[in-house]
């Protein structure tokens, strides 16, 4: 082969290799979908916003992480399988359980999720939720303001109220309504929010001055 021929081949090699190396240096091998986080590892510890919807969401997501960790799948895989009975059944089979077992794992996961949030100090104090709880109960805001924050927070730790609420969740009802956002919101609100409110109400009732006890039922 002539010197010109060898030079042409060398130029082709340099151009091809050079462009490939440049693209790889600019992330060519990493332009792939983001991988799901390990559900067994704690996520970024940011404080949960002090409103009931955010607290409910944090409990559900943390709970899904715990359940996914238990099942050996990603949180996203679990979440995507839940609305579809066939995929849910397959996921349960893969995890060596059945649908009832899956529901129990999710409920246990929700309890573990509350533990995680408490352990990481992410939950707001109940006093921060009190104005919203007052609204739910129909208590005038000026009366809610009479209750000292410290008293409420000492008597009702947020995590305890949430654990009580989680026990009230009907996971089967949640699973059958996953394709209906409005119904799902209603169920979660009834269970988590109303459950937490009931717990708060029971716990603070005895601590309130006599005339106020009647206001919380």
């Amino acid at each position: 082969m002539s010197a010109r021929g060898l030079l042409l081949i060398a130029i082709a090699l340099v151009l091809s290799g050079g462009l490939l190396a440049f693209q790889l240096s600019r992330g060519g091998a990493d332009f792939v979908p983001a991988r799901s986080a390990d559900p067994c590892q704690d996520r970024a510890r940011t404080a949960v916003k002090p409103d009931l919807e955010s607290v409910a969401e944090a409990v559900v997501l943390s709970g899904l992480d715990a359940a996914a960790c238990d099942l050996g799948v990603t949180r996203e895989r679990l979440l995507l399988a839940l609305p579809y009975p066939a995929e849910r059944a397959q996921l349960a089979r893969e995890a060596g359980t059945d649908e009832a077992g899956l529901a129990r794992t999710i409920q246990d996961g929700l309890r573990s999720g509350v533990d995680r949030l408490e352990r990481n100090d992410q939950l707001p104090p109940v006093s921060a939720l009190l104005p919203e709880i007052g609204d739910e109960l129909g208590i005038p805001q000026n009366l809610v303001n009479l209750v000292p924050d410290g008293v409420v927070d000492d008597v009702v730790p947020t995590a305890d109220a949430l654990r009580w609420a989680v026990d009230q969740i009907d996971v089967d009802a949640v699973l059958t309504n996953l394709d209906d956002p409005d119904a799902l919101q209603q169920i979660l609100r009834d269970a988590l929010v109303q459950g937490a409110i009931d717990d708060v109400r029971e716990r603070i009732k005895d601590k309130l001055p006599g005339p106020l006890q009647g206001l919380v039922g």
Binding site: S16, G17, L80
Partner: protein, 453 residues
């Protein structure tokens, strides 16, 4: 050359270009055809595969007809058959009729290609020049076909690609008839086909299928860019191929070196398409330039090498067409299952990435639930295709206060889809690169001018 032969050369070259452009002209129209006939990618791929397979099979028998001095008549019949079949493609009411018309197009096309080699040599009165014109017309047609097809699909419709071919290809009909008496019969023993040249052509054609077919699908279906933008983007390849031709002639490095360097450039360019750093079409241009240079260096040189000092010329021309289009079919048959399987496998990681983005967005839980419902519907509705997630955001009707967050989320979701689509094409591009690099093996055994190996 007088005016009459110049016009004859132009019209015959145009006919060759149109027929060979047809091997890939519908590449950019495939997504439109896919939607119109509600078909799957693997079914629509037969619009390409059917044409190339039949052209590969019919090329040598068509060439044999032309060696018997019947090139003029065979060309005229082929032009009419090709034009009629093109009209059939344009009027096809189902995918089956479209594929059957494409098969008929290929049979007519094989007669056109084989006869035009003889007619171009006859009208050029110089075998080397005639062969060079025939090869150049083929390279030009194959290279610009997808661009023209894409622009016509975007501007008018995919059917227009076939309608416009009817009068254009028939322009060569009177030329073909008038040259009947000028074509000599090529009796006598036939040389054996040039295996290294034809094998290298087949492997490079298979790889170039990856370059055009996959790149266009990535741009239009994977990244959801318009066929017009895709057409403009893939122009880089033919432009580079056209520039490479004269450069190679000036360099005079020899057929073997040109073929090896070309295979390296095509393989390198395809590997680069497998490792794109983001979904900006501009990133595909440098890789396309490498592939275009490779195309310009190899196809012309290998075709001329396959025909050099071999008789009958038409028969060996037929072998090069069979090799090229057989290679395209092999490329489609190898690469289509790879990327369709990868596209299917990309679904779960993409869904999980989308779910993670929605969950971790700063939107309120109620908005996330509404979006999740719409996104789920979109993903279910567009089985086998990359979904358009913007509809989920439209139907969710989130409060105006959340518009900025929703818009940012939509951008992130589209990014995840583009990442998934790009990743899904990687293995097919790398398989194409491997096919191109395999062409180096037969290229090593090519004869240089004068007979040295």
């Amino acid at each position: 050359m007088t005016r009459a032969p110049r016009a004859a050369v132009a019209l015959l070259s145009l006919a060759v270009g149109i027929v060979l452009a047809d091997s890939a002209i519908v590449t950019l129209a495939l997504p439109s055809i896919l939607r119109e006939f509600d078909a799957e990618v693997s079914q629509v791929a037969w619009v390409l595969t059917g044409f190339n397979l039949v052209l590969a099979v019919a090329a040598v028998p068509a060439a044999k007809i032309c060696t018997r001095g019947a090139a003029g008549s065979a060309g005229a019949v082929g032009l009419v058959a090709f034009a009629a079949a093109s009209a059939g493609c344009a009027l096809a009411g189902s995918l089956e009729i479209l594929i059957a018309s494409r098969v008929a197009q290929a049979i007519g096309g094989a007669l056109v290609i084989a006869s035009c080699l003889e007619l171009l040599v006859a009208v050029s009165r110089d075998e080397r020049q005639g062969v060079a014109r025939w090869a150049a017309a083929g390279v030009a047609g194959a290279a610009v076909g997808p661009v023209i097809g894409g622009l016509m699909t975007e501007a008018i419709s995919w059917q227009s690609i076939f309608f416009v071919q009817v009068p254009l290809v028939l322009l060569a009909f009177p030329v073909s008839l008038s040259l009947r008496s000028r074509v000599e019969r090529q009796d006598g023993p036939s040389d054996r086909p040039d295996i290294p040249s034809n094998l290298a052509l087949a492997l490079l054609s298979a790889a170039l299928t990856a370059a055009l077919f996959l790149l266009v699908l990535l741009l239009v279906e994977g990244w959801r860019r318009s066929p017009a933008l895709a057409a403009v983007t893939v122009t880089a390849m033919p432009v580079a191929a056209v520039i490479a031709g004269p450069l190679a002639m000036r360099l005079r490095a020899g057929t073997r070196a040109e073929a090896i360097a070309g295979a390296i450039l095509v393989g390198g360019g395809l590997a680069c398409l497998g490792f794109l750093p983001d979904a900006n079409p501009a990133w595909t241009v440098p890789a396309q330039i490498l592939i275009g240079f490779g195309l310009g260096l190899t196809v012309d040189a290998l075709t001329q090498s396959a025909l050099r000092d071999r008789v009958p010329r038409a028969l060996h021309g037929g072998w090069t067409i069979a090799a090229r289009h057989g290679g395209i079919v092999v490329g489609l048959l190898i690469l289509t299952p790879i990327f369709t399987a990868d596209l299917r496998d990309a679904r779960v990681p993409a869904q999980e990435a989308i779910a993670a983005q929605v969950i971790d967005s700063g939107l309120p839980a109620s908005s996330k639930l509404k979006l999740a419902e719409g996104l789920g519907d979109q993903l279910d509705a567009e089985q086998g295709q990359v979904p358009d997630l913007s509809r989920a955001f439209e139907t969710a009707r989130l409060p105006a206060a959340q518009a900025a967050q929703a818009a940012a989320l939509e951008v992130r979701l589209d990014d995840q889809l583009e990442r998934a689509a790009t990743r899904a094409f990687r293995d097919a591009f790398l398989a194409g690169a491997l096919l191109a690099l395999l062409a180096i093996i037969p290229a090593v055994f090519l004869r240089e001018k004068g007979g040295q190996v």
